[in-house]
C-alpha cells in the first residue's frame, strides 16, 4: 500500500492501469474511502486509462490530523498525487466534498489538467446547504458515524437502491463506520467553518469541464451546479436521470462510462462545452440528449426557460 508524504502526514493512494496512459484521478466524498471506486477503476482501466484513487487526509488509511484539517492541505495532497502521474493528460473528478477539492485544485493548478468532472458539487454554501451541513455535523457529534450514515443514506440514494439492502443496512454501513473516525470526520466538516465561496474564481478554470448532477439531488440541488455551469467557461452540465446525490455509488457503470466518454472526446478534440445542458442516458452506452430547448432545467416541472 503506497503512501505519499505531506509534511508529517501520510496519504494512502493506489495507481492502476497502464503507465503512460491518460489518467483519471478520483476524489472521495466526505464519508467515503478509496475502495468505493473499485468499479470505476476496473471500468476505466478496461478502457485504457490509468486510475489514481486515494484517501483524503482524515479518511480511511491516510493520516488523520487530530485537530485541524484545512482544505488547502487536501489540495496539496492531491497535487502530490498528480505529480506521481508524470506528464501525461490528467482528468480529475470528485464527488461532493471531493468535487469541491477538485474545483479548488483546478483553480490553483488548472494548467496540469486535461479535464475536470465535478459531481454532486458546490462552489458556495447557500443557507439550505449551510444548515444541512450544520445539522449533519450535529448528528455526527450526537450520534456518531453510524448516525451520520443513517442521515446520509436516505438522502443520497434511491428507494430502488435501498429496498434490497434495507434489512442489512448495518453491514452496508460497516466498512464506512470502521475506517472513518468521528473526530476526523468532524475535522473534515469543520474545514468549512471558514469557507469562502469559490464562485468568483470559477471563470479561471480553463479546462474542459463536465458537471454531473443527479436529477433528484436535494443535498446539492441543480442551482448549485448551475453556478458551476454559468461560471466555468468550457463547461457542460449533464443531468443524471433518476439519480440522487451519491449516484457514483448507485450508478457506477453509467458514471464510469460518462467519465470515459468525456475524456475520449477531450483527447480526440471533439469536446465542445458551450455551457450546454444535457441529459445522460439511463444506462451505460446510451446516447446523451440535449435538454429540451425552451424549458427551464432548474425547475422540476416543464416551465418555459428564462436562463441561457
Amino acid at each position: 500500500m503506497p503512501f505519499l508524504s505531506h509534511g508529517s502526514y501520510r496519504i494512502r493512494y493506489e495507481l492502476d492501469g497502464p503507465a503512460g496512459a491518460p489518467a483519471y484521478v478520483l476524489v472521495n466524498g466526505l464519508t467515503q474511502y478509496a475502495e468505493l471506486w473499485i468499479a470505476y477503476r476496473d471500468a476505466l482501466v478496461a478502457r485504457r486509462f490509468r486510475v489514481a484513487t486515494f484517501d483524503l487526509l482524515g479518511q480511511g488509511e491516510s493520516d488523520k490530523p487530530a485537530l485541524f484539517i484545512s482544505q488547502d492541505d487536501q489540495v496539496a495532497a492531491l497535487h502530490l498525487l498528480i505529480q506521481e502521474l508524470g506528464s501525461g493528460p490528467v482528468f480529475l473528478s470528485g464527488i461532493s466534498f471531493g468535487g469541491l477539492i477538485a474545483l479548488r485544485y483546478a483553480i490553483a493548478h488548472g494548467e496540469r489538467l486535461a479535464g475536470l468532472v465535478p459531481m454532486s458539487c458546490f462552489a458556495e454554501l447557500p443557507p439550505q446547504l449551510f444548515l444541512l451541513g450544520n445539522a449533519l455535523r450535529a448528528g455526527l457529534i450526537l450520534g456518531g458515524t453510524s448516525y451520520l450514515q443513517d442521515l446520509l443514506l436516505p438522502m443520497n440514494v434511491s428507494d430502488q437502491w435501498l429496498a434490497p439492502v434495507l434489512d442489512k443496512l448495518d453491514s452496508v454501513k460497516r466498512q464506512g463506520w470502521l475506517v472513518n473516525d468521528v473526530y476526523a470526520l468532524q475535522n473534515l466538516m469543520e474545514s468549512f467553518l471558514d469557507f469562502q465561496p469559490l464562485t468568483s474564481q470559477l471563470p479561471s478554470i480553463g479546462v474542459p469541464t463536465m458537471i454531473l448532477n443527479g436529477e433528484f439531488d436535494f443535498l446539492t440541488p441543480r442551482a448549485l451546479h448551475e453556478t458551476l455551469r454559468v461560471q466555468i467557461p468550457d463547461s457542460t452540465l449533464v443531468i443524471v436521470p433518476r439519480a440522487y446525490h451519491a449516484f457514483t455509488l448507485e450508478k457506477p457503470a453509467l458514471t464510469a462510462d460518462l467519465l470515459a466518454r468525456f475524456a475520449d472526446d477531450v483527447l480526440a478534440g471533439r469536446w465542445q462545452g458551450k455551457k450546454a445542458v444535457w441529459i445522460a442516458p439511463e444506462e451505460a452506452g446510451g446516447e446523451l440528449m440535449p435538454f429540451p430547448a425552451g424549458y427551464d432545467h432548474l425547475r422540476a416541472i416543464p416551465v418555459q426557460g428564462t436562463t441561457a
Binding site: 501520510r10 494512502r12 488509511e61 487530530a66 485537530l67 457529534i141 468521528v182 473526530y183
Partner: protein
C-alpha cells in the same frame, strides 16, 4: 494476526484473555482521566465550563464501572507490568510552549482525553459474528459511543479562542499524545493477536 477479536466462542463471545487485557487498558486510561477530572473539579461550580468537567468525571467513572462489571476477567500475570507502563504514560506533562502553567496542564489533560476518546475505538474490534447481547460487546459499543460525545468538550476547548495564540503548541502536544496512546493501544492489541491498520502502525 487478525484485525478483530477472536476466535469467538460458540456463543459469539470474545475470549476472556482478550477481554481482560482490553478492559484493563480501558480501565487504566479512563480511570486516569476520571482521577484527573476529579482533581480539577472544585467542590462548588463557579463557571459554566465546570459543569462539563463534572459530566466528564461521572462519565469516565461510568465507563470504568461498566467495564469492571461486564468483563469476563481471567488471571493475567503480564498485567502488572503493562498496567505500570500505562499508568506512567497518563502522568501529567504540561504542554510545552504555553507559559501559564495552569493552562499548560489543562491543555495536557484535554489532549490526553482527546487521544483516548478519539483514538481508541474498542467497538471496532468486534467482528461481525460478535454476540450483540453479550455484556462485554455492549460495553465496548457504549464506551466508544460515549467517547465520541465526551470528545466534544476537548475539541471545543482545544479549538477555542483562548488557545488560538498557542495553536502550534496545542497541535504538537495533541499529536504527541495521540502517538503515545496509539502506540500503547497497538502494542497491547498485538500482545493478544490483534493487528490494526497501517494507520495505527504509524509511530
Amino acid at each position: 494476526m487478525s484485525a478483530f477479536f477472536g476466535p469467538m466462542d460458540a456463543e459469539g463471545r470474545v475470549p476472556a484473555r482478550q477481554q481482560t487485557r482490553v478492559a484493563s487498558f480501558l480501565v487504566s486510561a479512563h480511570g486516569a482521566l476520571g482521577r484527573r477530572f476529579a482533581l480539577a473539579l472544585p467542590p462548588r461550580l463557579e463557571s459554566a465550563w465546570q459543569a462539563e468537567l463534572n459530566a466528564q468525571f461521572y462519565n469516565e467513572s461510568e465507563i470504568v464501572s461498566l467495564l469492571l462489571r461486564s468483563t469476563s476477567w481471567t488471571p493475567d500475570l503480564a498485567l502488572a507490568y503493562l498496567a505500570a507502563t500505562w499508568e506512567t504514560a497518563w502522568f501529567p506533562s504540561p504542554a510545552e510552549g504555553i507559559p501559564d502553567p495552569t493552562l499548560a496542564l489543562a491543555v495536557d489533560l484535554a489532549t490526553l482525553a482527546h487521544a483516548v476518546h478519539a483514538g481508541i475505538r474498542p467497538a471496532a474490534l468486534l467482528p461481525l459474528e460478535a454476540n450483540a447481547n453479550d455484556p462485554f460487546a455492549m460495553a465496548l459499543r457504549r464506551v466508544e459511543f460515549e467517547s465520541g460525545r465526551l470528545l466534544q468538550a476537548q475539541i471545543m476547548f482545544l479549538k477555542g479562542e483562548s488557545l488560538m495564540p498557542f495553536r502550534d503548541a496545542v497541535s504538537t502536544t495533541l499529536e504527541r499524545r495521540h502517538a503515545e496512546v496509539r502506540k500503547l493501544w497497538r502494542e497491547m492489541l498485538e500482545s493478544i493477536g490483534i493487528s490494526r491498520s497501517e494507520n495505527d502502525a504509524k509511530p
